[in-house]
Symmetry: C2
Subunit: 366 residues, 2 copies
């Protein structure tokens, strides 16, 4: 297998499991039992209908999701969802939707929501450089908010909520782009969950939306057709030509989660082990590697840290690249180092990285 793929710590599009890549590769020439290239199969075939049906079913199984949720596969990424959600749930409302402002992506979600209706930021980490998440006693949730929106894992900063927020009588809307299907998530406590594929579950180009049926009842009637969730529900994600290949790869990932990994509890255990390995190294490095965020809010997906100065960081990144590790540079808004440990990245790869980091520290500890 390709060594570089196995050491791909990119924040997204991120590493995918080897067995899935091999099946995707095969499908480019010939989808098993169909005989055609996946790039040339019509989205109106029985085969593609069965792909969508199996994928919906796999996600329902993995999350133990109730039947009153629709599962959609859309284009446009989370950016499109940042708009579709307030178009659907906030237009014409007088009481504000509640948004948590916990990082770079929250900021973007809030900007788009404000175009559509009233928004209240119930907490912001912006002035503190997004280095922590709020504690429960810092949050007051209004009972009359149309919905609460937050991001479960802030990819850029490496912050992750390790609990479900909000009130049971206000719809919870959550961007789980960077931790979806990385662990169980109490999905039935949310009214809408969305996640683009390119972190844990597939390539760029498709976004999964889980939406409780009752949430669609107040949809404005004048939305452009492709921005109306009801059209996608009715058409089973085939309202207009869907990204067939990307959806197929997500199906392969869910099969891998169900059969090779054995479900989300197992996936969570693996992901926890990977993250613990990294954070233990940071904590034992005598401040050589400095975690960016408050320990109790650390992400299991994106481990962000700094070295003592930018020169040392650059040297670290260059040596890591030369040693075969890729994708470790921090987001352009924060700098530093970020190791993304998505589902497709193995524990062995993390062990190689921590080995490299220990060695680097030995050589540069002065």
């Amino acid at each position: 297998m390709n060594l570089l793929n196995s050491l791909n710590f990119s924040a997204g599009p991120g590493a995918l499991p080897e067995s899935v890549l091999l099946q995707a590769q095969q499908a480019i020439i010939e989808v098993p039992d169909v005989g055609l290239s996946i790039l040339g199969i019509s989205h109106r075939t029985d085969w593609f209908e069965s792909v969508v049906a199996e994928l919906e079913n796999n996600i329902r199984t993995l999350l133990e999701l109730a039947d009153n949720y629709h599962i959609l596969f859309l284009q446009g990424g989370t950016t499109q969802q940042f708009s579709m959600i307030p178009m659907t749930l906030l237009r014409g409302k007088t009481s504000p939707a509640e948004y948590l402002h916990t990082g770079y992506w929250s900021d973007k979600a809030i900007t788009e929501a404000k175009r559509e209706g009233p928004v209240r930021e119930i907490w912001s980490g912006k002035s503190g450089g997004y280095r922590r998440l709020p504690a429960d006693d810092e949050l007051r949730f209004a009972p009359d908010a149309p919905y609460l929106h937050y991001i479960s894992n802030e990819t850029v900063e490496g912050l992750q909520f390790h609990r479900v927020l909000g009130r049971d009588d206000v719809p919870r809307v959550c961007d789980m782009s960077s931790d979806f299907l990385s662990q169980p998530c109490e999905a039935n406590r949310f009214s809408l969950i969305y996640a683009h594929a390119q972190k844990n579950i597939g390539p760029a180009g498709v976004t999964v939306v889980l939406i409780r049926d009752e949430l669609l009842q107040g949809t404005p009637t004048d939305l452009p057709g492709f921005l109306d969730y009801r059209n996608h529900v009715q058409a089973h994600s085939n309202y207009n030509t869907p990204p067939v290949f990307a959806i197929y790869v997500v199906l392969l990932i869910t099969r891998w989660l169900l059969t090779e990994i054995g479900g989300l509890a197992n996936m969570a255990a693996i992901n926890r082990n990977k993250a613990e390995l990294m954070y233990r190294l940071l904590d034992n490095s005598n401040d050589f590697y400095r975690g960016r965020v408050q320990p109790q809010d650390r992400s299991l997906m994106n481990v962000t840290f700094n070295l003592s100065c930018p020169e040392k960081e650059n040297r670290f990144l260059a040596e890591a690249q030369a040693a075969g590790f890729s994708g470790l540079a921090g987001h352009r808004s924060t700098g530093g180092v970020r190791a993304s440990l998505y589902n497709g990245l193995t524990l062995a790869a993390v062990e190689q990285l921590t080995g490299f980091m220990e060695d680097f520290q030995r050589r540069h500890h002065q």
Copy 2:
């Protein structure tokens, strides 16, 4: 090579050239000179920037496109463009945009445009079952229309304009989804051209938009970010995570057009030969195969025809499928037979199909 792929007459996603499929397959494991799977490469890498730059340049070369056009690679398909165009060019206008209503897809474009502003259908083929296109003397173009919109090739019905319509002083907006890069198209006479990839130039999941810079100057300021062309222009199609793999395959197709085919004039000659082979057979079949549309409006891309009765059509489709031809069933709105002859389909494949059709006629001519 896979035999079924070579006989794929699907209307879209459609057949792609064998050499492109082989390169796409390789990239799933390892992109040459990068070493990583294309499904796990960040869209913020220098490599992806160079992919977009080369692809823009290739399209500019193939179409001899002037420098004042932006070239964008977006998600959402033509369906999203049906809305983005009137959002950008029609909101708040009092004089109507002019739309030609020439088929199934025109109908959808008009429905979405009407949500955004005034629309005048300057010709409709609906009552006649979309079996012909208008002649020049049936069309009057207003000088004060914000723009003229038409579809160069109606995929469902098999109708194609073989001339450029409209006035030089009114922006021409054209959906070229099913004939883009199948032939030269006088691109510089249009203000906006759009085309999803899944006919002639790639897999489903990406849409090409060519837009003249001056057209963006009146863009409303309150559009959701992802529906504002200016954001995509500014970010070089990297406003939010683009569909990396689909864009890469479109790059491979443009390389194939430039080097293996030798440009759009050559591609057009091949496509014309393929279509002529089909239409000659229909015309010489003594009404056994009956073309759906008026001869002068016949599409070079989608050859639509009927047999004398549905039973015979079903038998034809079943025998064709059994003989290895796929994707020949007509659109669900029209029935009948449709052979799509996109760039990726070879002349040899069409010769095999016409051979099969002659044989079928011999066996069923009574």
